[in-house]
Amino acid sequence: SASLSERSEQMRDKLRKWREDNHRNSEQIVDVGEELINEHASKLGDDIWIIYEQVMIAALDCSRDDLAWTCLQELKRQFPGSQRVKRLAGMRLEALEKYEDASKQYDSILQDDPTNTAARKRKISILKAQGKSAEAIRELNEYLEQFVGDQEAWHELSELYINEHDYGKAAFCLEELMMTNPHNHLYCEQYAEVKYTQGGLENLELSRKYFAQALKLNNRNMRALFGLYMSASHIAASPKVNATVKKANVKYATWATNQINRAYQLAGRGTKENKCSVKAVEEMLESITMS
């Protein structure tokens, strides 16, 4: 019937979009995917295999081992001996916290194919899951020496360093990412946040520059806008800066505050919370102009 195939089309599109966006909305993927697999499998054609993979990973996230097992069996049957399916089997072992068995699974993949990046990254994920941050960092550094272009890995490493409060090394990772992705406003903004957290006047000035750069790349990045305000007003308030620098930073901070105000006006439906945010921003503005 028309409405039934419409429904399966919609579900298929949803799953595709979530795949493309790399969304980790596992509960929704399981809801939609399970229905699609159970009731509309015949309409999916070859898409069914990538859907099995997507649903399996989401099922692991939701402790739905029954569903994950079903998907895995279908994939094993269709792709016997596949490294990609072997990796999925490894992920299931990880979800069951059978880390040694999972590690062996990945080692067997690497024996056949030493350049299998997916298996290497899963091994590092195991270290992370076990709380072995120092080892995970070490392994990830080694990995990046070989696979220097792996952006996902650089980003993961920056996060590991941030969690260890090693902001200098986190900044280095983000510098790599900014170099290879000069138009990515998110990397700029994250770099600025790391520099700000590192502290000290020099890092604050760097953070201000990179918040501004992120804004140039995307003028709706609110974190960058708020960051510009915070860094500029801290610099302006510092006893170590001369009058010229202070004046310039008051100007930046004032500009940022006005932009923030404008953004809230645009977003606001006159909600109470919004009015408070606007008030807070006005107070921020007063505090700079008074200093």
């Binding site: 946040e193 790391v194 606001g268 909600t271 919370e273 408070c276 008030k279």
Partner: protein
């Protein structure tokens, strides 16, 4: 001298909804209490009622600028509503890890500067169930620059049965999908971190 805080059902449930929304991430947030009119001499006998919870961030918690922004904005909101920031909660990324880390201690200490009876709360995800059969928090008090763990049981709640019923119902109904934290607000300013819809649901279930 032992001060203790009582959790309002809405405050407790929002903490758990936040953790449930991002099971693969660390999450953190603030607890607010009603501002006491005068500081009584025997104020240690008056419990601090944590009336609301503001979920802050998910993922990387160890960066400063957005935390400072959140504290500034929420402070203004508190003043408007005669609230005071009274506590900080955190759920770590790894389920089995429920000890406070450097971030928790730093933010907790910062809050304690403005509110001496501030509590630092760690969520124990290993005991997290849909049925919410027991409170899953560990409460830490700031004593002489150290954080000391205090027992959290049903007496830490204004009405544990109510808190349990409401939290369980909202978890079952997947209300966490619509919970807004400060990160969501920064992604889109229209997202309201006071969570009026969830507040309505809580009142409805009371």
């Amino acid at each position: 001298l032992s001060y203790f805080c009582l959790f309002h059902s809405g405050a407790y449930c929002k903490m758990l909804l936040h953790a449930a929304k991002y099971p693969h991430c660390a999450v953190n947030g603030l607890l607010v209490a009603e501002k006491q009119k005068e500081k009584k001499k025997d104020s240690h006998s008056t419990p601090i009622l944590c009336v609301d919870c503001i979920p802050l961030f998910h993922g990387t918690l160890a960066l400063a600028p957005m935390l400072e922004v959140a504290l500034t904005l929420i402070d203004t909101w508190c003043k408007e509503n005669k609230y005071v920031i009274a506590g900080y909660y955190q759920a770590n990324e790894r389920t089995k890890d429920f000890r406070p880390n450097q971030v928790a201690e730093k933010v907790g200490a910062r809050i304690a500067e403005n509110f001496s009876e501030a509590a630092m709360i760690m969520v124990d995800s290993t005991r997290f169930t849909m049925g919410c059969y027991e409170p899953i928090l560990a409460i830490y008090d700031h004593h002489e620059n150290k954080w000391k763990c205090r027992d959290c049981n049903v007496d830490s709640f204004e009405d544990w049965c109510e808190a349990q019923k409401i939290t369980s119902a909202l978890l079952e109904g997947r209300s966490y999908e619509s919970l807004i934290d400060f990160d969501n607000h920064l992604d889109d300013l229209r997202n309201d971190w006071t969570n009026p819809e969830i507040n309505k649901s809580v009142l409805h279930l009371c």
